[in-house]
């Protein structure tokens, strides 16, 4: 009797102890959520988007603006600028547009009765992205910054008249000029990085717009639709100011503009590209890119054009350009191994030059990893010694 009474008491006692022990052994952890693999700029599904299937008629200034319906688009400005003392700075300023879903997102009212009087300014499926980088050649210092925004509500976008491509307070905006034509007008680029590095420059096209590839239709892969529309201003006189490390520099030099839009570009076997834009001292410009294949035996897909001082374009054919890598640089940031020095020869044009990055580390380690670097060029063109500057973009060198 006594024992059983004690047993009755002991059991809840033990149960209570065990229960309370279990209840307190809950671990704490950070709140985080994973939903699915995020791919901000996924190439993935192209169904439902407009594809670049053949040459088209361009209308300006409309075609300087955005082309919704195509998945990707970019306005890409690079240049080499010099101070009076000859100190060199390279710059890259690019605004990307990325359409997130194929269907048009214009005013899909979820309850038309209620909101019909209002303008849905925040409604969009356009994502804007911007990259801004400065290469300080003297200090071998490459600084860069990246931004995102939804392409709506006045936060980011591309308007035609006046021309303005912007992401928040980073913008490329048309400058009033009485000499401006529908396709050709000066613009101003204004941007400041978080660290204070800033650029405020004015660019005036010195030559007419170049329609790259086949009248602006540029095939990049073997498949139909793996192509883009591609237009360039290959020589733009540039003047303005640049601020870096607390110093303000008056700079001038030459810039290059590429505007390109597409839905899909690369075939599945293609890994990346080496894309040159070079301004030569004799008034010529060279655009040349090769898209490499996974299979090294396959010849790369190339597009190239040589622009004469009068603006005439000569397309370069497959096999006309000889490119040889002389040096490589391995990135300490990503372990990626990029070419750093080349010889580039176009025998048919009696052009042969050494091309080198102005310094090694001009890698962009932002949401997309690539190399965007200022170039120095020297060589011979039709027996004439030439120099020049340019930019190289390299993708697909990521370490697996």
């Amino acid at each position: 009797m006594k024992l059983s009474f004690w047993q009755i008491i002991t059991i809840p006692l033990l149960v209570g102890l065990v229960l309370s022990w279990i209840l307190f052994s809950e671990p704490g952890a950070e709140i985080e959520a994973t939903i699915s693999a995020a791919q901000a700029l996924s190439g993935g599904d192209t169904e439902g988007y407009i594809q670049a299937l053949g040459p088209r008629e361009f209308v300006f200034p409309v075609d300087h603006g955005a082309h919704p319906g195509f998945k990707t688009e970019w306005w890409y400005y690079t240049g080499n600028l010099f101070t009076k003392d000859g100190r060199q700075f390279g710059y890259q300023f690019t605004i990307f547009r990325n359409q997130l879903s194929p269907t048009e997102a214009v005013n899909v009212l979820i309850d038309p009765k209620i909101v019909r009087t209002h303008n849905l300014e925040w409604n969009t499926n356009q994502l804007y992205l911007a990259h801004f980088a400065i290469s300080d050649v003297l200090k071998k210092d490459h600084v860069f910054d990246e931004r995102y925004s939804r392409g709506t509500a006045g936060l980011a976008g591309a308007s035609v008249d006046p021309y303005r491509i912007w992401l928040e307070d980073w913008e490329i905006i048309q400058v009033k000029d009485s000499m401006a034509s529908g396709e050709r007008f000066p613009v101003r680029i204004k941007a400041e990085m978080v660290n204070g590095t800033a650029l405020d420059i004015q660019l005036s096209p010195q030559k007419p717009l170049v329609l790259q590839g086949e009248e602006g239709y540029d095939k990049k892969g073997g498949l139909d639709g793996n192509a883009s529309y591609y237009i360039s201003f290959t020589r733009m006189q540039t003047d303005g100011v640049l601020q870096k490390d607390g110093e303000l520099f008056a700079v001038s030099g030459l810039s290059w503009m590429d505007h390109e839009w597409s839905t899909s570009a690369l075939d599945s076997g293609q890994t990346g590209w080496d894309w040159f834009s070079i301004q030569l001292s004799n008034g010529y410009e060279l655009m040349y890119y090769q898209i490499r294949n996974v299979n090294p035996d396959l010849a790369p897909q190339i597009t190239g054009s040589l622009i004469a001082p009068d603006g005439q374009k000569r397309d370069l054919d497959q096999g006309e350009v000889r490119l040889e890598v002389l040096e490589y640089w391995t990135s300490p940031h990503t372990r990626a191994r990029y070419p750093a020095q080349w010889t580039l020869a176009i025998p048919s044009e009696e052009l042969e030059m050494d091309v080198a990055t102005v310094f090694d580390d001009q890698e962009m380690t932002v949401s997309v990893q690539y190399y965007e670097g200022a170039l120095q060029v020297s060589g011979n063109f039709r027996n004439e010694v030439i120099g020049g500057n340019g930019y190289i973009e390299m993708t697909g060198y990521e370490q697996e």
């Binding site: 008491i9 229960l19 985080e32 995020a38 269907t103 309850d111 209002h118 995102y148």
Partner: protein, 849 residues
């Protein structure tokens, strides 16, 4: 040697306890019940708190500051300017609101964000957190919810869910699930529906508007950044720190929680009486043994520690059982507490109980502490037992009778001191509860004297009714006063507590009902469903307002609008009414300046509710600063009105005045008057027909709304009523156990009575009458103490917690109930001992010692 001898004492203790298992068990029950009440209230409160802070933490993320508009809205231009002109990029636009998911009957916090800007702020809503932009920002109505909610709904990613916002139903496509592997975050995000900001603007009808802008301002140069950002903000917007915002929310429920806690402590107090009672018993019963032990050389200290050790054992077992039971009880209370918070303050979803070590420790300390405290006096009494003589109870009884005047005087002094506490300035709620405690203790000390008086009064009555046995029974209560008085005191306190709380709830209800009657003057009321029952936080569609106004049979209409605005005293609820001078018919004022109603319709004046005036210590003659679209404006307060809808208090202004300072045109409620030819019910049906398909709103007649309001009122008091019932249960079990123990204790006396010729029937009569007498005494004494407690609750605690003036309302049925409760418990307590005694052979009982 010494050790063994001490073990011997301990074994004697154990042996004693084991020989009296009923007694032992009842002591444990006393502790367990008290502890269970305290821990269950603590746990449910803290779980609600924790759920709130966890969800606040998850939703706030790394946000340090926020930009808010003058009311609930902020123009999106502020965000554009911030990004494009000021260039402050640690900023994210947010729209938040509430909605109900179809299929799950609970409210969700709907968070509308721009996931592209979210990165630095919240982990679960940004690209980095895995929001697939391509599927989330499509212009289509998409949503992301917690995986567990998806499972509850039996839906998958790719399915549609329906959400109801302000009475409108929307289909949303689920494009992702918030998966969390730990319980904490799961709990925090379980009531969150994440949508794109564009969809949020549509759901809440907030085109070009935001709820707020979240900011991250680094600690270093915080001040200069705030200064420069504030300088760029348009008039009517302000930058506040996030913590101040969540503080406001958690402060809201402080008084509410404190009151619940106090009720649970009351239960512990009753438990203490029970422990005291049973410990005294066990000591008194053993006095002969203790006397012998002392004679054998056991020291006073050893006796003291022996008794206290017993108390520790009882306390420990009781506490552990109490904690276990309390956790179970908390599961149930949590639902009630959450419901009340949702009705009264803000939307909160608490899915599970969180058990904090600190609270368990507190319960252990309280349980053990209370047991030791209650056992101390009996233990001291035991240790002071005379060495030479075997002390008889009669001598301690006579001692107590001698002490009666002193005890009564001390009791009176403590009671008066309790009253004195109320006079302390800035005493607050804590002082109110201290008064309550003092009054209860003081009254308890008066109980022995009152019992003697009452017994003297009752003896002739019972003598007439029940002859000798009646007289004997009453006399028996007084002769063993040291034991009966404690049992009666425990019963009185427990019953009085339930009477007090009962009167308080009744008074409250009567006040609210009569207030509703005067407040609701119109025939028909139209409201959209809102997330928090007592707050009109949803809006009527403009189209609907027009439609209803033009309905045939509607003679006149007035509208109200409620929103939270920033004032000198932080975020406050501002109600605007389109009633001009006629507002005087609906609003009962406590104080007002002459000619106020004329001014209210025309001039820049406002009135504030009683609770608001009390909370912030302002009144007529003061001015209240309100952040408007035209900047900070000061409004003279010209009247104070009664309002029992919100304990946070409200500020009321005329609509025309509001429109002068705010751009918002929204309406959150409509009151309609039927013309003479139209029957109200007919008009209600007509209006419902017209509203169908536009917005799902409540259209109720005056009577319907009143009933609905009272229903909500009753719901918010469910937790109090449940606690009261629990206190009654504690009282019931307590009285049952102590009176039963008392009678079992008297087995020997009963045997003597039987041996002297008393029949089993007469003994039965004797025992039942005696416990019945104690029940009646307790019931009668519980009434004045109950009234005292209710008086303190209504006029001190309520006023100090909420600033409300209540009508004091005592319903006789409540008092009769109290006496009946005491008597029934007492009678029940007599059944088992008398049954056992009647059955037993008196010779055995006499032989036992």
């Amino acid at each position: 040697m010494i050790r063994q001898y001490q073990d011997l004492l301990w074994q004697s203790s154990l042996r004693f306890l084991l020989k009296h298992p009923w007694h032992f068990l009842l002591s444990i029950l006393g502790v367990a019940l008290g502890v269970a009440m305290v821990i269950s209230i603590d746990l449910s409160n803290s779980s609600a708190q924790r759920a709130f802070s966890l969800s606040a933490e998850a939703l706030t993320g790394k946000t340090t500051h926020q930009i808010q508009g003058s009311g609930d809205f902020l123009s999106d231009q502020v965000y554009r300017d911030l990004r494009l002109t000021t260039g402050y990029r640690n900023s994210a636009p947010v729209i938040d609101g509430y909605g109900t998911l179809q299929g799950l009957d609970r409210t969700f916090q709907i968070l509308g964000v721009d996931p592209i800007a979210e990165g630095p702020f919240r982990d679960f809503s940004s690209q980095d957190g895995g929001i697939d932009l391509a599927r989330f920002i499509t212009g289509q109505p998409t949503a992301v919810i917690s995986e567990s909610v998806l499972a509850d709904l039996a839906k998958n990613i790719g399915d549609s869910i329906q959400v109801s916002v302000s009475g409108r139903l929307f289909d949303l496509l689920v494009v992702g699930a918030i998966e969390t592997d730990d319980k904490r975050s799961q709990q925090a995000l379980e009531s969150v529906l994440l949508i794109d900001i564009n969809i949020a603007q549509q759901l809440f009808g907030m085109a070009s508007q935001l709820s707020r802008i979240d900011l991250i301002i680094p600690n270093e140069n915080e001040e200069s950044i705030i200064a420069s950002l504030s300088a760029g903000l348009p008039v009517g917007t302000r930058l506040v720190s996030t913590s101040s915002r969540t503080d406001i929310l958690s402060q809201m429920t402080r008084a509410f929680e404190l009151n619940l806690q106090a009720l649970s402590l009351l239960a512990l107090l009753v438990g203490m009486f029970l422990i005291y009672n049973t410990m005294t018993f066990s000591v008194v019963q053993r006095l002969p043994l203790i006397g012998r032990l002392r004679a054998l050389g056991v020291t006073k200290l050893e006796i003291l520690s022996m008794i206290l050790k017993e108390a520790v054992l009882i306390g420990l077992i009781g506490t552990i059982l109490g904690i276990t039971a309390g956790i179970g009880l908390a599961q149930f209370l949590l639902e009630l507490v959450t419901q009340s918070i949702n009705d009264l303050y803000f939307v909160l979803s608490v899915q599970e109980l969180t058990i904090e070590m600190a609270l368990i420790l507190k319960a252990i300390i309280l349980g053990l502490g209370a047991t030791l405290l209650a056992a101390f006096w009996p233990a001291r009494e035991a240790s002071e037992a005379e060495v030479s003589t075997v002390l008889r109870r009669s001598s301690s009884e006579s001692k107590l009778v001698h002490r009666l005047p002193i005890t009564a005087t001390i009791g009176l002094a403590i009671g008066l001191a309790g009253g004195g506490i109320l006079l302390l300035p800035h005493g607050g709620i804590i002082a109110g509860y201290s008064t309550l405690l003092f009054v209860i203790i003081g009254f308890s000390l008066l109980i022995p004297s009152l019992m003697v008086g009452l017994a003297a009064f009752m003896r002739p009555i019972f003598g007439t009714l029940n002859g000798l046995i009646g007289k004997m029974s009453v006399r028996g209560v007084v002769t063993e006063l040291s034991r009966t008085s404690v049992a009666v005191a425990a019963l009185v306190v427990a019953v009085a507590a339930s009477v007090g709380v009962g009167i308080m709830v009744d008074s409250f209800r009567v006040t609210v009902v009569s207030w509703l009657e005067s407040q609701l003057q119109a025939d028909i009321y139209v409201q959209p469903p809102s997330a928090v029952a007592r707050k009109a936080d949803a809006q009527l569609q403009t189209e609907l307002v027009q439609l209803l106004k033009e309905t045939e049979g509607v003679e006149s209409v007035h509208s109200v609008f409620s929103e939270d605005v920033m004032t000198t005293f932080g975020s406050s609820n501002l109600v605007t009414t389109s009633l001009g001078v006629k507002a005087s018919e609906s609003y009962q004022t406590k104080e007002l300046q002459d000619g106020f109603w004329g001014q209210f319709a025309q001039e820049k004046v406002i009135m504030i509710s009683e609770a608001y005036a009390y909370r912030f210590g302002i009144g007529i003659g003061d001015s209240l600063g309100i952040m408007t679209d035209k900047g900070m404006q000061y409004f003279p307060i010209k009247a104070i009105y009664f309002d029992y809808a919100s304990d946070m208090g409200t500020v009321t202004m005329n609509r025309s005045l509001y429109d002068r300072f705010f751009g918002n045109r929204a309406i959150s409620g409509l009151a309609l008057y039927a013309d003479d030819q139209t029957e109200v019910n007919v008009l209600v049906d007509r209006l419902r027909d017209r509203a169908a398909g536009v917005q799902d709103v409540f259209i109720r007649s005056n009577k319907g709304l009143r009933e609905a309001s009272i229903e909500i009122f009753d719901r918010t008091f469910t937790v109090t009523v449940v606690l009261r019932l629990l206190a009654v249960m504690v009282a019931f079990v307590g009285i049952l156990s102590s009176l039963m123990a008392l009678q079992l204790e008297r087995a020997r006396e009963h045997a003597v009575l039987r041996a002297n010729g008393m029949t089993p029937g007469q003994l039965w009569n004797y025992v039942i009458t005696q416990t019945g007498v104690m029940g009646v005494i307790a019931g009668v004494l519980a009434i004045p103490l109950g009234l005292l407690i209710s008086y303190v609750l209504v006029y001190v605690i309520n006023l100090r917690s909420f600033g409300w003036t209540l009508e004091f309302m005592v319903s006789p049925s409540l008092l009769i109930q109290a006496v009946a409760l005491a008597v029934v418990a007492a009678l029940l307590a007599g059944i088992y001992p008398s049954w056992r005694m009647a059955k037993a052979n008196p010779a055995d009982a006499l032989r036992s010692e």
